[in-house]
């Protein structure tokens, strides 16, 4: 077992973990943060996307021990004072989900995308979300949600 200490959604946590434990397992099974989901388990689908030290990663493809000393933000840490994050609000407003399984990862990646590029073109949005798969929406409403969150007129 290896001792790790990190900050998750603003709270410091410390645990003994097996080195082989994946970050997503740690978040879900040790911390109970089941908002972050496991989709494909092969690092393709992006459903497990969280922010590690401020940038998006697939948490099924990071070991918990590698997050020692880091700051992690999950979908559960986006809202502040009971108010949805603007990207969460935009996904609701634009109906950017159907079954909702990809949504935590889509929102976390969209937040990252808008941080790096606050005014993306439709093509840049689609490319920026290439690591996140959705099997319901055909992506159109997701793209609209990101445009809405960026304060743009919805084009797609």
């Amino acid at each position: 077992m290896t001792r790790i200490t990190l900050t998750v959604d603003g709270a410091q946590v410390s645990d003994d973990v097996e080195p082989r434990m994946l970050l997503v397992q740690y978040l879900r099974e040790k911390l109970g943060k089941t908002g972050t989901v496991i989709g494909c388990d092969t690092s393709n689908c992006g459903a497990c996307t969280v922010h590690l030290n401020g940038t998006s990663v697939k948490s099924c493809n990071v070991l918990a021990v590698q997050a020692d000393g880091a700051e992690v933000t999950t979908i559960e840490g986006l809202a502040e004072d009971g108010r949805l994050h603007p990207v969460q609000e935009a996904f609701r407003e634009c109906h950017g989900l159907q079954c909702g399984f990809c949504t935590p990862g889509m929102i976390m990646q969209s937040v990252d995308l808008l941080k790096e590029n606050p005014n993306p073109s439709e093509e840049e949005i689609r490319l920026g979300l290439e690591g996140n798969l959705c099997r319901c929406t055909g992506y159109h409403n997701i793209v609209r949600a990101v445009q809405h969150a960026a304060g743009q007129a919805v084009t797609s």
């Binding site: 082989r20 994946l22 092969t42 940038t55 493809n61 070991l63 020692d68 290439e130 996140n132």
Partner: protein, 284 residues
């Protein structure tokens, strides 16, 4: 899917990492960004007893200008390489290839040196590395040695890095002012190419003075399209001239056949993609 159990070491210096490698030998595996290795461990295609993580060695990260070369630390994430102005100015082919590499999340975590040391023949960086004549700086107990791109890639997933050595940095000779284009033919956008062609070209007054071309998935290692490079030198940067030269792209290659395409299809792709890449790199 969960990897088989292993012990985990996170040294803070290259010397400590080398000592750990020496102690654990074949039982140990180096982990850089882990974006290729962790899926392999999860699928239990490999089960090292010890994982040595280079993530806490700060000296392995960063990009610097070193006169006639740009030097990229092995643990520098793809996202940093892809947005670096020095790389864009002096080795544009690298910037273009990184844009096509996996997806944003993987680029944040995966590393430049890790991807090259992994030596997947379908990897996005091997083609640009051989095209630009990258120099690989490898450290072992006895000191540091430098290996050229033509000798670095040995075979499928095999490089010149010894079992007791670590890739510390990659020197990219400056190609300032050269046009560059990475053409990647994929079935699914964020995945590996069926074939990719990385071309960089120096045009002088409408004539192609020099061209360097590296290809992915046309053999067990990244390969240069040397016949095309030779045929292009001194040619006008026109569609007809480039098309004729690109017909030789698959000379000397030994492409694999798999579910995505047989060898002849890959040979065809290499000619088409080489024509497109060279034309775009030459601004024609």
């Amino acid at each position: 899917m969960i990897p088989a159990a292993f012990d985990y070491l996170a040294p803070t210096s290259v010397e400590d990492a080398l000592a750990a490698l020496a102690e654990h030998g074949d039982d140990a595996k180096i982990i850089a960004g882990g974006q290729s290795l962790l899926p392999v461990l999860r699928m239990r295609l490999n089960a090292p007893e010890v994982l040595i993580d280079l993530g806490k060695i700060d000296s392995l990260r960063g990009i610097r200008d070193d006169g006639d070369a740009i030097v990229i630390g092995a643990m520098t994430p793809h996202s940093v390489v892809g947005s670096d102005p020095l790389v864009a100015e002096h080795a544009a082919l690298i910037s273009k290839a990184v844009e096509h590499l996996a997806d944003a999340q993987i680029r944040h975590r995966g590393t430049f040196g890790g991807a090259l040391a992994h030596a997947d023949p379908a990897g996005d960086l091997g083609g640009p590395a051989v095209a630009l004549g990258a120099q690989f700086v490898i450290q072992g107990a006895g000191g540091t040695r430098t290996v050229g791109a033509d000798d670095f890639f040995v075979d499928l997933f095999e490089t010149a890095i010894g079992d007791d050595e670590i890739l510390t940095e990659v020197r990219i000779p400056k190609h300032t002012g050269w046009g560059a284009r990475h053409e990647k033919f994929v079935r699914i956008v964020h995945q590996w190419p069926i074939v990719a062609v990385a071309a960089t070209v120096r045009v002088d007054g409408g004539t192609i003075a020099e061209a360097r071309i590296g290809m992915a998935n046309m053999g067990s290692t990244p390969v240069r399209a040397r016949a095309v490079e030779e045929a292009l030198a001194g040619q006008p940067a026109t569609e007809d001239a480039v098309r004729a030269a690109a017909e030789r792209a698959d000379e000397g290659t030994n492409p694999p056949s798999d579910l995505n395409g047989d060898a002849d299809y890959r040979r065809h792709l290499s000619r088409v993609l080489t024509r497109r890449a060279v034309l775009a790199a030459a601004g024609a």
